[in-house]
Amino acid sequence: MEENTIKQDIRQDENIVYKRTNLLTDKALSYCPGCGHGTTHRIIMEVVEEMGIQSDVIGIAPVGCSVLAYEFMNIDMQQAAHGRAPALATAIKRLIPEKFVFSYQGDGDLAAIGTAETIHACNRGENITMIFVNNGIYGMTGGQMAPTTLIGMKSSTTPYGRDSHLMGNPLKMTELVATLPGTYYVTRQAVHTAANVRKTKKAIRKAFEYQKLNKGVSFVEVVSNCNSGWKMTPLDSNKWMVDNMFPFYPLGDIKVPEE
């Protein structure tokens, strides 16, 4: 009884330091525990809530682990065919320029099957935000090699590790799009620590704010883990990501607007 009273005392508005955003639905996330998708979803929705643009935002879900993103984000969303989200986003933004349009895509979606749509949306300088979650593997289909799989990294289709002679080299899509004149802001972030989550949220906020300027694509890569696909515990996968993914996919801004 006394304990309950204490809890109620603590639950005063002025004591609240964190509250789950209303822009996430009550549906339980379908992601594996430890996966970066849930955090990335949350911070995108926090940004939308903080900017007060729920009624002006249209999101596009990919094919891959985040195919059901529309189940969790409480905004109007479209589910695209595999890799085609930038084509959808292009049309939406050109038809309703006053709306905020973003695509949410994984590495197989954005950097393999959807390479043409990605490059050309970036090259045309579509005034959209692209969120690119890169975990170096096809998670949903059971851990096959992705375009971003590192050399030597094992997957269900590279059981002896990726060999560049046989399977080619990992693709740095983010560096590639940064070279195009149609991209305005290009950055690579991660969500494995509280500090990184804050940085990524800031980047996503910028990537949405920049749509007001009409200057081209804002592109945010989130390097993430896939503990199921990598066959590690969540903690081990985060450590592996820091030790192996970050050296090849270094975090930080790649292209920043001249202020």
Partner: protein
């Protein structure tokens, strides 16, 4: 006063698109339909109506741009020719699954593969039987004149939004390229976003506080729900069969034989009728205007009147399968066609009638 213009079929499609209040055209160049996008870009419709015209990086991108625009309740269209339409099949299947309205124009050329740039009617199966994956149908309109190229644009939007389904205009290189007089309609105003929100409450135009979020998807991982969606789609296709069948009968009243033909072939057959009737052969033309839904009841009815039917197609024999199903063995049905981009002559068609149906 009516406005009359001399236009190519492809130009008629483009002008009709602007006048019908199209919100967005997305396309990729391919012969023999490139005039559609050329005409649109030359007309600067963004100045005339605010219409968006964008040359995409591929037909795959074009059809997915339609998906994005249609999901917002917009009037969107693309045009292409056979190989490009093949590339779009994935997107068409997704749009059928997500129940999205759009207009696709196929100015058919001969195939398979890169084939030829000359006219053909060899995409009948692809158009009417579902060229993409899954159980679905799209409405297919077959124009036989430049005027119909023009008129079917507005009609397509009407049907696409009525059923929330893609509509295909199945034309060919001859109708796309030939010039005829066209009566031009009034300029329709593009709908405002407020009107679109009112007319298409399902569209993703931004979630406002007075409604639940809108989701456009063709996915349901729960098979019991996916089955319900499939039956709902089938019910819709049945409603199309019940309500949207269109066809034309020419010289059929006293006919002992009929040609069944659409598009360019039906134009050839009209000349063949003249030649045949000069010889005393009473032949008429049954012209399906909708290829899906196919006018099978009307053809079955004709089977009670005539002694035989000749399916005249610029293909190796595709529509004939639907005619045979409709006739169900009641009368003789044969096929005559030229392929690879060759248009049959009226004389060849009469010869085929005499040899395969009358004498056969």
């Amino acid at each position: 006063m009516k406005e009359i213009k001399l236009m190519k079929g492809n130009e008629a499609i483009a002008e009709a698109a602007i006048r019908a209040g199209t919100d967005g055209y997305f396309g990729y160049p391919i012969t023999p339909q490139s005039e559609v996008m050329e005409y649109l870009t030359a007309e600067s419709p963004h100045k005339r109506t605010g219409m968006v015209v964008l040359q995409a990086e591929s037909e795959t991108a074009s059809i997915n741009m339609l998906y994005g625009g249609a999901s917002c309740g917009m009037r969107v269209m693309t045009s292409s020719s056979s190989p490009g339409i093949s590339l779009m099949q994935e997107g068409i299947s997704y749009m059928a699954g997500a129940e999205l309205p759009c207009l696709i124009v196929n100015v058919v050329r001969g195939g398979p593969g890169l084939g030829t740039i000359q006219p053909a009617q060899s995409d009948y199966f692809q158009s009417t039987k579902g060229g993409g994956h899954g159980d679905y149908n799209i409405i297919v309109l077959a124009p036989a004149s430049v005027q119909e190229m023009y008129d079917f644009v507005e009609l397509s939007y009407e049907l696409a939004f009525k059923y929330r389904n893609p509509v295909l205009i199945l034309s060919d290189g001859a109708i796309g390229q030939m010039m005829e007089k066209v009566e031009i309609g009034e300029q329709k105003q593009r709908r405002t976003l407020d009107q679109i929100i009112k007319e298409t409450p399902w569209a993703t135009t931004g979630k406002t506080s007075d409604r639940e979020r809108n989701i456009i998807t063709s996915l349901d991982l729960d098979s019991s729900k996916q089955e319900i969606l499939n039956w709902k789609l089938q019910k819709k296709y049945q409603a199309m069969r019940d309500n949207e069948v269109r066809y034309e009968k020419i010289n059929c009243d006293d006919a002992e034989y009929i040609f069944v033909a659409y598009g360019t072939s039906s134009r050839i057959c009209q000349k063949s009728i003249q030649l045949a009737r000069e010889k005393g052969i009473k032949v008429g033309l049954f012209r399906p205007i909708t290829l899906f839904p196919f006018p099978k009841d009307a053809i079955f009815e004709m089977a009670g009147q005539v002694k035989g039917m000749l399916s005249v197609e610029m293909s190796a024999g595709q529509m004939i399968e639907d005619i045979q199903l409709a006739v169900n063995g009641k009368v003789k049905v044969e096929h005559f066609g030229r392929v690879g981009g060759i248009i049959p002559t009226p004389e060849e068609v009469v010869n085929a009638l005499e040899q395969k149906i009358i004498g056969g």
